[in-house]
């Protein structure tokens, strides 16, 4: 544990040296990005993707209510095992009722990143917090310590971060098997392993690369990649999107309208 800590410390010293080198005029675009006191890129801010990955990670033509998209999967096709591909097709055919997002489940990783809602990164002295407007989802990226012993079913996983130069690398395991990657039925098992790489290319753009691994479902690891943009509006702030999962579950006695708050108010 303490050795690991020394390792991290050495890594950050390296990062600072690397940054110093870049600042000294070695001419990378990353020289003009904001940085924290310890020299790492300061990811703080409000960010959002601009693509159609939430509908379908793979290339797709337009359907009613779904814009067309060139896809974000390297090589275009997700390498499913044969049985898993059948499952994906079944998921896709029944997506209106089966997609866990329609049941208000947390979207999981990486789907939460490319939901069509902004998210805020709070880059603290201790961890990197991702606060999402969509269903107030949260990820705390712990920069110290190792993955917890499993099995744990967490919708948003157990995320451990490290810096490789100017790239925040987030390694996540311990996922709940119920989430999907998109509305098109792309899915995973509890063996999902996600490695995300957030690289600040300019002050207002992140390069987001993700490697997805799950030997129960895919024949090999595969990658997605997309830019994430800073929301530049003046006074931009997160608002809320709550999901009302259970309000349709309860039904009043037939023929009896429940009293409303207005009936209690004085005229």
């Amino acid at each position: 544990m303490s050795k690991r800590f020394v390792g991290w410390t050495m890594a950050s010293v390296f990062a600072v040296l690397l940054t110093a080198g870049q600042a000294a005029g070695q001419g990378t675009a990353a020289a003009n990005i904001p940085r924290t006191a310890d020299g790492t890129p300061d990811l703080s801010g409000i960010w959002q993707v601009m693509n159609t990955a939430a509908f379908d990670l793979e290339p797709h033509q337009a359907q009613e209510g779904v814009p067309a998209g060139l896809g974000v999967v390297e090589g275009n096709v997700i390498p499913y095992l044969p049985e898993a591909l059948e499952q994906r097709e079944m998921n896709r055919a029944n997506r209106d009722t089966l997609d866990p997002e329609t049941k208000c489940f947390l979207p999981g990783v990486p789907r939460i990143t490319y939901m069509e809602y902004p998210f805020q990164i709070v880059h603290t002295s201790r961890n990197v917090q991702f606060l999402y407007e969509y269903v107030h989802a949260v990820r705390h990226i712990f920069m110290e310590g190792e993955h917890l012993p499993g099995r744990i079913d967490w919708f948003m996983g157990d995320s451990r971060g490290r810096w490789e130069g100017d790239t925040l690398v987030v390694d996540s395991v311990h996922f709940d098997p119920q989430t999907w990657f998109d509305r098109a039925g792309n899915f995973h098992s509890e063996d999902l392993h996600v490695v995300e790489r957030y690289t600040m290319v300019t002050a207002d753009r992140l390069d987001y690369q993700v490697t997805i691994e799950d030997p129960q479902v895919f024949s090999r690891p595969w990658n997605i990649r997309m830019p994430i943009y800073r929301r530049a509006e003046e006074n931009m702030q997160l608002l809320e999107y709550e999901c009302y999962a259970f309000d349709d579950v309860f039904h009043p006695t037939p023929g009896q309208a429940p009293p409303t708050i207005d009936q209690f108010r004085e005229p």
Binding site: L131, W154, L239, F246, D247, D248, F264
Partner: protein, 288 residues
């Protein structure tokens, strides 16, 4: 018969409460109700790099408040003391003479109605929003679990251990969103007054409750929070509620927050997918 049973349960609960207090006192030290001392006349808060009092860290409420009911007395908490052998929590955070919310008459009647709904609801909308997987809101999150605070030049971030709630309290003087933009957590703006961080919360949707049994407001509610950094490990927190549509006058809740050691804040999903809503156990009120 039933009344007698309730009376004896009440007596047992009261005894248990006293015993629990005695136990706490006997054990002493860093128990769950241990309140760190104020700093004394010579103490001044440590400052951060921006020159503001440095309150970064993990904080936990230490005034024995239960989310079951914030109002005084065991009446509201009878059922609480019977569920799963919970230790009665007797904190009385409301700083009015009778320790109760000064509802307007109609609102008092509606609060009683919500309390009754707890035993069998007409509709899900009359059950605790937290039991429906919705945001717990303020200030209830402060007596539900720990919070992690970080400070930046333009804002303070607060992450809550319960239900993965969070808030950003901007300190850069920006305006609130337009008043028709209503939010479960409201919209917070803050500034420092000496050793006290003052945050004003507006744009509240009035849907979040202050406790399980339905202490409520309308969407006319505004809050002013005062976080007095009064000792190295102590914040005296007060929040004043103003809602002319529901309350006769503004009222204030007070509690002590204690600084505790950092620990990783793990995911705290409330209902999302982990539990199938058990509608059978929620009786639907028969027509009356």
């Amino acid at each position: 018969m039933k009344r007698r049973l309730m009376a004896s349960i009440r007596a047992i609960a009261a005894t248990a409460a006293v015993l629990s207090l005695v136990t706490t006192v006997t054990i002493g030290g860093q128990g769950r109700n241990f309140q760190p001392p104020a700093g004394g006349p010579d103490w001044t808060p440590p400052l951060n790099a921006y020159g503001d009092p440095d309150i970064e860290g993990r904080w936990t409420e230490r005034s024995d408040i239960t989310t079951y009911s914030i109002q005084a007395g065991l009446d509201d908490r009878d059922e609480h003391t019977q569920i799963g052998g919970q230790r009665p929590q007797l904190g009385e955070p409301i700083m009015t003479p009778d320790k109760k919310i000064p509802y307007l008459p109609w609102a008092a009647t509606f609060a009683d109605f919500l309390h009754e709904q707890h035993y069998g609801a007409w509709t899900g909308a009359y059950l605790d929003p937290v039991s429906r997987g919705l945001l717990e809101g303020l200030p209830r999150l402060h007596y539900q679990g720990a919070m992690e605070i970080y400070q930046f030049p333009d804002y303070i971030s607060v992450s809550y251990a319960y239900g993965h709630a969070y808030r950003i309290i901007y300190t850069d003087g920006r305006p609130h969103p337009p008043s028709n933009v209503k939010l479960w957590m409201g919209d917070s703006r803050g500034h420092w007054e000496g050793d006290t961080f003052v945050s004003e919360v507006t744009n509240l949707n009035g849907q979040a409750w202050f406790d399980i049994v339905g202490s409520f407001s309308t969407d006319a509610l505004t809050m002013v929070e005062r976080w007095k950094f009064s000792g190295p490990e102590r914040i005296d927190y007060e929040v004043t509620m103003t809602d002319p549509n529901a309350y006769r006058e503004p009222w204030t809740m007070g509690m002590v927050l204690a600084k505790t050691e950092y620990e990783e804040m793990w995911p705290s999903e409330v209902w999302e997918g982990t539990v199938i809503a058990d509608t059978d156990s929620l009786s639907i009120r028969p027509p009356q």
